[in-house]
Amino acid sequence: NAGVTQTPKFRILKIGQSMTLQCTQDMNHNYMYWYRQDPGMGLKLIYYSVGAGITDKGEVPNGYNVSRSTTEDFPLRLELAAPSQTSVYFCASSYLSGGHPNNIQYFGAGTRLSVL
């Protein structure tokens, strides 16, 4: 069972370049999330989706875009990379939302991005 799969694992970008971080899950979860984690810090929510075709902003959405054309895939797009976007990016999915006992978010292994 693959769970949440992220690609690539590592990437170095030059300032102004663009890229897409891929995320796919095989658990048929409706809810998907993108987080960034800066060194020594917790995770901050960038965007999330409650189902195919529906996305919404999280805490730090500036500089990013997302789409959700299928239940399985939730790519994150960086259009004009900036050094401030150097971080580790995690994708997650969950079956439920809110304070349900089974609302466990399952995380991918992360994408380590450096913008130079």
């Binding site: 917790g42 304070g99 292994a109 992360g110």
Partner: protein
């Protein structure tokens, strides 16, 4: 704004000892809390959760305690092992939605 924070950024314990990791939260209306473990180079992994109508929940070698009076959460790990070395995050879900709010994290280091 609301936030979830941890009292100690690092914790070093001897193998076999018990570990206690603390967390403070500010939203008294949050009704669900989760502890995650993050090993180096990996994504966070669910450990245990607790709802606000409980004050204690036990898992395998782990116990989570919730004190709503002082808005405090703790994770207790019994007989800490080298494999427990990781960063531990608490997270809360406020009542308005399922978006987790993560704390800064505590790095647990287990000495052999």
């Amino acid at each position: 704004g609301e936030s979830v924070g941890l009292h100690l950024p690092t914790l070093s314990v001897q193998e076999g000892d018990n570990s206690i990791i603390n967390c403070a939260y500010s939203n008294s209306a949050s009704d669900y809390f989760i502890w995650y473990k993050q090993e180096s180079g990996k994504g966070p992994q669910f450990i245990i959760d607790i709802r606000s109508n409980m004050d204690k929940r036990q898992g395998q070698r782990v116990t989570v305690l919730l004190n709503k009076t002082v808005k405090h959460l703790s994770l207790q790990i019994a007989a800490t092992q080298p494999g427990d070395s990781a960063v531990y995050f608490c997270a809360e879900i406020p009542p308005q939605g399922g978006k987790l709010i993560f704390g800064q994290g505590t790095e647990l280091s287990v000495k052999p």
